[in-house]
Amino acid sequence: MRRSSNPPSRVLRARRGIHTRLADIWRYRELLVGLVRKELKVKYKNSSLGFLWSLVNPLLYLLVFSIAFQVILRAGIPSFPVYLLSGLLVWNFFSGGVTAGTSSVVVNASLVKKVWFPREVLVLASIGSALVNFFLQMGVLIAFLAIIRYDVAFSYVPLVIPALIVIVVLTSAVALLLSAVNVYLRDTQHFLELALLAWFWVTPIVYPFMLMGGREEKWQAAIYMTNPVTAVVLVFQRAFYAKVDVAAVGGRFGAVDQILPGWSMGGYAAYLGAVAALSVLLLVFSLWVFGRLEGNFAEEL
């Protein structure tokens, strides 16, 4: 008789509880790190520019939106590059993580059919690799802000950390849900592309939040604020862009001369807190759905 020191026992049945699955994911955390490393290595292995490629995308966005809004439409957002990038990088993480996560189970079909490991790890690895890209881009942005001695709102910077956690939870929740659905309905990923395009434009990234969130009609503003990504984007903008009212410098965007809401720290925290609660609920729901659907992954792939 032979037993390893700590034999991992397992019960396989049609339904596994969420806490069992979370424990399994934790046990496979090293695989998660390994898969993230693999994705990054494969992505940049045979390219001459390496990770610099991940900086090209936001810079191109910056160029296009600067010309479209600041030059052609003559929108007057002062320090537009800082405004755009502090929201866009968060958005890129969200949309990149959700897109890669959604297709991750189908892309790794050969693995899913042959080896058992918690399938959630595949989705989380896609998000992990998007997160590494986000950190690289953010690092470059922060270095840039430091060089030009940009006036950052330091008191709001601590709020960035919970905001980052919230967006990771939210991205994981959406990606887990869609990745499981995508196994059964393969065009989920195509619908997702369209949905993300619309989602981008209902998030205050290239235009100021106050354009929609500051409307006279309170119900319109309320509906606009149900977009959970907005709360996270606002925190990043408040901390790094930091300009709330730009009337004094003659900045304006259409009818508004206020860019960010003039809430106190508590106001931003409350909005973020509400989104955090929603994200956790969505994550539990996604894990439940994923658990219901994963049993047949090997048959459907």
Binding site: M1, R2, R3, S4, P7, P8, S9, R10, V11, L12, R13, A14, Y28, E30, L31, G34, L35, K38, K41, V42, K45, N46, N108, S110, L111, K113, K114, V115, W116, F117, Y184, L185, R186, D187, T188, F191, E294, G295, N296, A298, E299
Partner: protein, 403 residues
């Protein structure tokens, strides 16, 4: 606790006659999806103790691979539960998840962590893995430059070095060249010596009897038998050969004359040593009782008796005339008993040809070409057809070392 406990496991597959894999198609064909249920496994109960080797046998589509995949966790049972204790590795995923752009070293780490090893554990075993695959020189090259043989070698090296408590071996092992198969089998035997639990899926019955202590037979999703490997192989044969095989028509020469004076009316196989079983053990006595009915006195009858193998090849044949047995004049009903004091065969079903001819063989009175058979069940692990007793003696010329 046993290493693996399968409790009341059933697995249903939904076979849709038309499969819509996109949202668009599902909406268009809403409510028109027709599917039929197919139960690949029905209420399987199986307990596998730590350190034992179980063979899982059955014909194609019997559900043995489905059961293996359920135990491996790849398929979820529709009903029932499976408890496993210990790390499981399955030798059905050689090189699963290898990425061509990564080096051999990077792939070893990734593959081993997919199989559940921690980084520290991989560090410890890395040299063993690479040494086993004999790829030391190439380990830092991208895997896309590997030949397919190197690829499989590396995959196998990782799989067998993850130090599993439970090893699942699928038929996949049958692919690959002979030396590779031998290497796999040697490794399986090594695992047995180390007291690991092994489940071995195969439809090569001989291999199962050689390797496994116990075996389970699956038949169309039902557990037909579970117990000793030799007995299991016999049960499998019974399920695969329903009834006595219909013999090919005897060739024209051997066809009995229409007004033959003597006919065989029945053949019975008797084996007193295992009278309560439908089989005989190698080395046991076996009697064939040939009942005849003679209308007219026949004084030149000779009994032909032959044994064939499963493929119909003749293994042994003799006639009473050639044996010099004096046959009395046959008249009325009676029986001739042919006894084999020691059955010299190993596992298998052996068709017999029994005939009555004239002494010179010129007239065939009656002929039953491979219509009757007897079965031998081999409880030992020897392979092949003939029961050969061997004795082993070691003669050393040099000084003998202790141990």
């Amino acid at each position: 606790m046993a290493a693996i406990e399968v409790k009341g496991v059933s697995k249903r597959f939904r076979l849709s006659s038309d499969k819509y894999q996109s949202l668009k198609e599902r909406v268009i064909h809403l409510g028109r999806g027709t599917h039929t249920d197919f139960w690949a496994l029905r209420e399987i109960d199986l307990t596998i103790e730590h350190g034992s080797t179980l063979g899982l046998i059955g014909h194609n589509g019997s559900g043995k691979s489905t059961l293996l995949k359920c135990i491996a966790g790849l398929l979820q049972p529709t009903e029932g539960e499976i408890f496993t204790e210990g790390r499981i590795a399955a030798l059905l995923e050689l090189g699963a998840g290898f990425h061509p752009e990564l080096t051999g070293r990077e792939n070893v780490y990734l593959n081993a962590s997919i199989l559940g090893l921690s980084r520290k554990e991989i560090d410890k075993r890395f040299d063993d893995m690479v040494g086993f695959a004999e790829l030391e020189q190439f380990i830092d090259q991208q895997v896309r430059h590997y030949s397919s043989g190197m690829y499989v070698r590396l995959g196998f090296a990782v799989a067998v070095n993850v130090d599993p408590d439970i090893l699942l071996v699928d038929e996949v092992l049958a692919v690959g060249d002979e030396s590779f198969q031998r290497k796999c089998l040697n490794r399986v035997r090594e695992f047995q010596r180390e007291g690991r639990t092994i489940i071995f899926v195969s439809h090569a019955a001989d291999l199962v009897r050689q390797i496994c202590d116990t075996a389970a037979v699956l038949d169309h999703g039902d557990l037909a038998f579970s117990g000793g490997a030799g007995e299991a192989v016999r049960v499998l044969r019974e399920h695969m050969l329903p009834g006595v095989a219909v013999a090919p028509d005897a060739d024209g020469e051997r066809a009995p004359a229409a007004d033959s004076p003597v006919r065989i009316v029945g053949v019975e196989v008797e084996h007193p040593a295992t009278a309560d079983q439908p089989y005989v053990l190698p080395g046991d006595p076996l009697s064939i009782k040939i009942a005849y009915d003679a209308d007219r006195p026949t004084d030149d009858a000779s009994i032909s008796f032959a044994v064939h193998d499963n493929a119909g090849r003749l293994l042994f044949g003799i006639t009473t005339h050639a044996l010099g047995v004096e046959m009395p004049t046959l008249i009325g009903t009676g029986a001739i008993v042919v006894t084999v004091p020691r059955v010299p065969f190993l596992d298998g079903a052996y068709p017999m040809t029994i005939g009555i001819t004239s002494n010179d063989g010129g007239t065939v009175y009656d002929w039953r070409e491979q219509q009757d058979r007897f079965e031998v069940m081999n409880p030992g692990s020897a392979d092949g057809t003939v029961d050969v007793k061997v004795e082993v003696e070691v003669r050393c010329s040099g000084p003998v070392e202790d141990g």
